[in-house]
């Protein structure tokens, strides 16, 4: 999956914003409070709408009024639109997914939900799923692409007024686009890593295929890689050796009472350190490696400020690892306050946020001819940023 366009209207600090031609690896910088977290929360919100429901997703963010941009009339809708490339019934399509959420008679209502894509190079896009306030249709024979519009089978459905149709319909194999899209969003990873949750001994039974959002199953995922992908585990250990002085081996250990811990070995000493006692940065670096060397990348990965707790010279390589992850089939969004991290990022990959009259604007480095000229002369993005050359980015 590759998101090409993201359009946001009335969502938190985004009154009206759009990102086009998104690269696989996107790095967003901006002053504190400029809206970086809100941007990432667009993905978190969509995922919550699908995993739970729209009402709960809003409630977790303080309710509809809090999520709707300030100064916007309550009768207006929150609108989110993403355009992405996705494989449907064996063909890659540019798909648009759009939702409009509002409030009517004090109830949360999905005013419109559309999944559409073009069936050919020409012609207007065809709506494969179209719902208004819980009622609508979805197409069930998407594999017959050559059929005329009138021959496509529409199946009328009702879902709750406050529910997403892709959630309800996406469970069924026959709605191929909805099903595929639902699965993609379910696999989005919007990180909320907590070092303290990642530490300590863990129940050996639980989710082990992917690192959880908080990182609290680090030991389980590490053991899975250790046992089933020993070559990848060796790469992770080799990377740790280069980056954290004193770490010569890492090993997941099953304790006698059926719990999992990680042992960090310093070759100078005989006895290893258990994960509870190693440094924050060590745990964090190890967790990132476990996440980024995942044999099956998430279609979308969002990470805020990965540089925290890490030594500056390690950030160049970390940025490269995010990019390599994206190149293996995912898409990665990272926010950062680190010039060292940004130095490793290319012109096309950088965005910055500016707050104007209370609302967030999104700027792209590639569209700034001055930055472009400096990069062509051999400057690095982080250096230019520090010199104050991202117009409007610095706090005033």
């Amino acid at each position: 999956m590759l998101i090409e366009t993201l359009r946001i209207k009335n969502f938190k600090s985004f009154r009206q914003a759009e990102m086009k031609n998104l690269p696989r690896f996107c790095v967003v910088v901006g002053a504190n409070g400029s809206g970086k977290s809100n941007l990432f929360d667009v993905f978190g919100f969509l995922k919550d709408c699908l995993t739970f429901n729209v009402k709960q997703a809003l409630q977790a963010r303080g309710g509809f009024r809090e999520v709707l941009s300030r100064g916007v009339d309550e009768t207006e809708s929150i609108e989110l639109e993403i355009k992405f490339r996705m494989n449907i019934a064996g063909v890659e399509r540019l798909v648009t997914y759009l939702i409009e959420i509002g409030i009517e008679n004090r109830q949360v209502v999905v005013r419109r939900e559309v999944l559409r894509y073009k069936r050919g190079r020409y012609g207007s896009p065809y709506h494969f799923l179209d719902f208004i306030k819980g009622t609508g249709y979805a197409i069930t024979n998407e594999e017959d692409f050559d059929k005329q519009d009138e021959e496509l089978e529409r199946e009328q459905q009702n879902v709750g007024k406050d529910a997403l149709a892709i959630k309800g319909l996406g469970q069924f194999e026959r709605f191929k686009a909805a099903n595929a899209f639902r699965q993609l969003i379910e696999n989005w990873h919007v990180s909320d890593f907590h070092i303290n949750l990642a530490r300590g001994s863990k129940e050996a039974i639980g989710e082990y295929e992917h690192l959880s959002v908080s990182g609290d199953n680090l030991q389980l995922v590490a053991r899975n890689i250790y046992e089933n992908h020993p070559d990848i585990f060796q790469e992770i250990v080799t990377a740790m050796k280069h980056r954290v002085p004193g770490v010569s081996q890492v090993e997941p250990i099953l304790t006698q009472d059926g719990r999992l811990i990680l042992n960090f070995q310093d070759k100078t000493f005989k006895d290893p350190f258990i994960d509870k006692y190693v440094s924050d940065g060590t745990i964090k670096m190890f967790a990132y490696l476990v996440l980024l060397y995942d044999p099956e990348p998430h279609p979308l990965l969002c990470i805020e400020e990965p540089e925290n707790q890490l030594y500056p010279t390690l950030l160049w390589e970390l940025a490269e690892e995010f990019r390599a992850y994206a190149e293996r089939g995912g898409q990665v969004f990272v926010s950062s306050h680190s010039p060292d991290f940004l130095n490793a990022v290319s012109l096309e990959e950088v965005y910055w946020l500016v707050k104007e009259q209370g609302y967030t604007q999104i700027r792209r480095a590639e569209e700034d001819s001055q930055l472009k000229a400096f990069i062509a002369e051999g400057d690095q993005m982080g250096y230019l940023w520090k010199e104050g050359l991202f117009p409007g980015a610095d706090p005033r």
Partner: protein, 184 residues
């Protein structure tokens, strides 16, 4: 001579040299890397580093990419900066056009570290016989070795780079210059 100081524009050049220099220099040479943040930064801070360097026996190598600029002009300018800082003996080397040109000059090294394995056979393609002529070396390398990332790739390829069989003339110039400077 006891200290060799490399003044570089980015960390990947350091990573590459760390793989090459131990095979070129003896143990008695102390190598120090000063890594700047791009070309502007290199030019700006270079004179201060040279002027205030405390070890009187240190010898210096300045290395940067040519990129889109004129190779000779870049070199002249850097030599000028060094002379003004009172160090006319600094060795200035320009990678033509980029660090990646060095790697395109030794596809065997790329094949054995980054892959794909079949890459080594391509060395005799017209393009890679004289890689310094390609002005988009980084792009070209990424095209043929998809897993390549600048820093991690340089760290991997560096130790595999051949010291005497590289098709990049600017790489050979660099190696020759360092040898002369270090007296090996």
């Amino acid at each position: 001579m006891n200290q060799l100081v490399f003044l570089l524009e980015e960390p990947s050049a350091k990573a590459m040299l760390e793989g090459v220099l131990p095979r070129l220099l003896g143990d008695n040479v102390n190598v120090v890397y000063v890594v700047f943040e791009g070309k502007q930064d290199l030019e700006k801070r270079l004179p201060r580093r040279l002027r205030a360097w405390q070890n009187p026996n240190a010898r210096f190598v300045v290395m940067r990419d040519q990129d889109s600029g004129d190779c000779y002009e870049i070199k002249r300018k850097l030599v000028g900066i060094c002379e003004e800082a009172g160090r006319p003996d600094v060795l200035v080397r320009v990678a033509c056009h980029e660090l990646e040109s060095f790697y395109l000059g030794d596809l065997q090294a790329v094949a054995s570290t980054i892959g794909p394995n079949t890459l080594a056979k391509q060395q005799n393609n017209a393009k890679y016989r004289d890689p310094d002529r390609l002005n988009n070396a980084a792009q070209e390398l990424k095209r043929i070795a998809k897993a390549y990332q600048k820093l991690a790739g340089s760290r991997a390829i560096g130790p595999a780079l051949s010291l005497d069989e590289n098709r990049s003339r600017s790489f050979n110039q660099l190696i020759g210059g360092i040898k002369e400077l270090a007296g090996v």
